[in-house]
Subunit: 517 residues, 2 copies
């Protein structure tokens, strides 16, 4: 539970035990270990059809690597390269991806918050990249570094989030060219969970690597993943210089990248679910293969940003059946190749935190849980097709993730026999609320969402007719009051700040905006 | 699609074909035939554990049948009866339920709208029983017969709804004792889809049977299900006289009943997911067995209303992980016994159509789809724990059902090869929107939700910042303008009205309220 109700009394005995049990808990939930089946919508022959179609694309259509270093790398290992087009033989691709670890430990500043990723192991990561926020007053505006710190604090205090990510919102009060330094520092300072590293340019990615080496030690990061970088492909079938350069910075230091084709189904893929998956799969595999050209055995993650587009506006949609189906299918493909995979959660196009946002987010969350995604990104705050991060939605989404976490653990059987013993005690027509077993187990047996109001309408009106946005904002304010900064080693903190100061002197300040999904 | 955008021109050739394709379509989708796997969270031994626990309850704790006729029936076939407690031997239960059909055809007034129920075949049925509505102006008030007719019309025009149900809202302008007649007539008149029959008393149920005999013919209904009746159990382990009497009225005429324990997890079941399922399963089986005592071979449906209760208010909650898990488990049990099963969709406790309502509804919908439910009741309109039916939510829920329907059909493979052929045409860095295959297939390949707004915020603001509630109410008004009443045979209509007039003379008018979930 995110935060269970406080008991009425705090005196000794049973009520004291209940108090201990029901005090607000901000401890991170361990990385999720799934115990429910994945939803597999393809049989073996259909998986083979996708695989073969992707291999045909890689061999015959080719992938454009708009980057001289990558082209040289491909030539060096014997791939056919014509201009910027790389034609990848299926044997080569399968050989290369065979050395990607099926799972790995993703290390946090606090080692108790390390998480496993891959196979049955999944994590929830908040959204990133929003150029606007809806703030504590639900006002939509450009964010600042303080706003970013606020979201890092909220991520730190949300039990179901396993990461503070990176630029949850874009800090507009800091020059874009230097922003990655402040963003990385904010992730490191306000939370001791895992975090993401900026990939906005190869140089920026190198800075992140250097800062990680300060925080974790150079030797440690060479052998242990401590951050993740997202590299988007330009569908159809293009990887650009910025992304490939950032990829090299991460892979060389053994840090995992998310190889994420950016798919707007129907606009940059064929108008077909299965064919879209085949193209996306080819794209992801081409980048996954390249990670192993950079460094054999480096961890890497099968990624994607996935939407279908509105015929009316060309904008990305969310919560549609094809997106769910593609998630199920891509999950199967990632498992076929035995690599961890990333998807996007709680997506939506609503402009406010209205019912549309609720439907879209819950549908997406459900689909990615049933799909068996490992790296469940954009798990909190996303609204307006990623254009803003909403504080209210962030809070509700984290509780949704906590509920999905519980569901994905499957039913608890430990309590079965003891609970059954209550049935003859209570008997036909009785009630369980007064039974000792119920009193002892109610709180742990059933999740009580705090952000959902289940009072009668009379009670709800008496309390001011407060809808979910306001309830969530109240919760956010309370969390921020209770926030305690996780201690950062003073020497490391100084070294990080010295590094940032030096780099800020070296990098010319600019003021343009960039963005990443 | 519920209603795809109108084309710009209606002249001949391609645009004419597009016009034909994109005119508003109100045709009912055929009954859903699932083509994705069910989510099974128990292995075979865990299914056996639940089964054995339920059998132990039936044999040793017993079930209270508060009804002299049922007690006599049980004695007659050799069950052990002590007072009102019936102890059911597992061999007897398994023998009785063995004659329940695994699936059956549920007949509609328009035979083209007949649907199959059981196994892979599922239907969506709107909510019923709301004592309030939120109307076309989003005002919360008591409903009238006209309001009920409005919902029957909206159900008729919603492609993903396979039923007009019965008292979607309680018509307060008509005496309670006679209300079942008007409700049944409204279901029959304003829609030609399947409908439900009132079970508010044995006599009322008999009236429904008589009216069905008029509409479908006496001989026909003896051999063909034409309506369904819901019978709620009082958990733990009680069936009352009203429900059992109504059950007999239906079963004797070969009409299927939903045998639905009314479960508030933790209040009238043990504080344990698995033990709650074991008790619910025992309750459902005891009623399913009784249907076969009434009439061997009569169709019957494993049902339930299922929630967990809030510790704060004692009110039912929705969208919690345990409810999803229980749905998965109950689905497995129903399949273990090879009987069709009913669950509840789009439940929620929100007071308005806010984000809470969206999260709750979408989470529930997703769970029941993955659980493989056959009779997916309360699929549109439910809010405030069933206290009101919202017109806006009704409209959005039906689109959600249409999307879930599409998802449950699984990916389409027919278009795979043709779509793949577009990949080399477009090539790396190209785009698909101009490709002929995309233009020909976009609309059918990807679902375009009409009630979700995916415009930019600038466009959305320019159009008046309309949130989903208002968009849905506008849609409802448009649908009601376009409504065409499905012709009811004049002789049958007269006979129905004569029957109602006679019964209204015979039944004393009363004015109390009753309610059913």
């Amino acid at each position: 539970m995110l935060d269970t109700p406080r008991p009425r009394t705090r005196s000794g005995g049973r009520s004291a035990r209940r108090a201990a049990r029901s005090a607000p808990v901000f401890d991170m939930l361990p990385g999720l270990e799934r115990n429910i089946p994945v939803c597999e919508v393809m049989d073996g022959s259909q998986v083979e059809r996708i695989h073969n179609a992707s291999m045909d694309i890689l061999e015959n259509v080719g992938v454009q690597f708009r980057d001289p270093i990558a082209l040289e790398d491909w030539k060096r290992i014997g791939a056919k390269v014509v201009g910027e087009l790389v034609y990848l033989d299926r044997a080569l691709v399968m050989d290369l991806i065979s050395t990607i670890p099926a799972d790995f430990t993703y290390n946090a500043r606090d080692p108790k918050k390390n998480v496993r990723l891959g196979g049955k192991h999944s994590i929830f990561v908040p959204m990133t990249g929003a150029p606007f926020l809806r703030d504590l007053d639900d006002v939509r505006r450009n964010p600042t570094l303080d706003d970013l710190a606020m979201f890092h604090k909220l991520a730190h205090m949300s039990p179901a989030l396993h990461s503070s990510a990176h630029h949850i919102v874009e800090p507009y009060d800091h020059p874009i060219s230097q922003r990655h330094l402040q963003i990385t520092y904010s992730s490191m300072k306000y939370s001791d969970k895992t975090f993401m590293g900026m990939t906005t340019s190869p140089k920026n990615a190198e800075d992140v690597m250097d800062m990680c080496a300060i925080l974790f030690g150079q030797d440690f990061i060479e052998n242990n993943p401590v951050t993740t970088g997202n590299c988007n492909g330009n569908s159809p079938l293009v990887w650009d210089e910025t992304m490939l350069g950032a990829m090299r910075a991460f892979c060389k230091r053994n840090q995992p990248v998310l190889c994420s084709p950016f798919v707007l189904g129907g606009a940059n893929t064929p108008a077909s679910v299965a064919a879209s998956v085949a193209q996306l799969n080819a794209e992801a595999l081409s980048a996954l293969a390249y990670t192993q050209v950079i460094r054999r055995g480096a961890p890497a993650i099968y990624g994607h940003y996935l939407s279908t587009v509105s015929m009316k506006s060309g904008a990305p949609m969310a919560g549609t059946p094809e997106i769910s189906l593609m998630n199920f299918m891509i999950g199967q493909m990632a498992r076929f190749y035995d690599v961890p995979w990333r998807t996007s959660n709680t997506l939506g196009g609503a402009k406010t935190f209205d019912a549309q946002a609720g439907y879209e987010s819950a549908t997406t969350l459900s689909a990615v849980i049933h799909a068996g995604a490992n790296y469940i990104w954009h798990s909190a705050g996303w609204n307006e097709a990623g254009m803003h991060c909403s504080v209210a939605k962030f809070i509700v989404d984290t509780e949704q993730c906590a509920m999905a976490y519980r569901m994905a653990q499957g039913p608890n059987w430990d309590d079965f026999d003891a609970a059954l013993a209550a049935v003859p005690d209570v008997g036909p027509g009785g009630h369980y609320l007064g039974h000792q077993h119920t009193q002892d187990n109610f709180q742990t047996a059933f999740f009580m969402p705090e952000l959902f109001d289940n009072n009668s309408i009379e009670q709800w009106v008496a309390e001011g007719s407060v809808e979910i946005t306001e309830r969530a904002l109240n919760r956010a304010r309370k969390l921020l009051q209770d926030y305690e900064e996780p201690k950062l080693d003073i020497a490391k903190d100084e070294e990080l700040r010295d590094y940032i100061a030096r780099r800020e002197r070296e990098i010319p300040a600019s003021d343009e905006l960039n963005q990443e999904y």
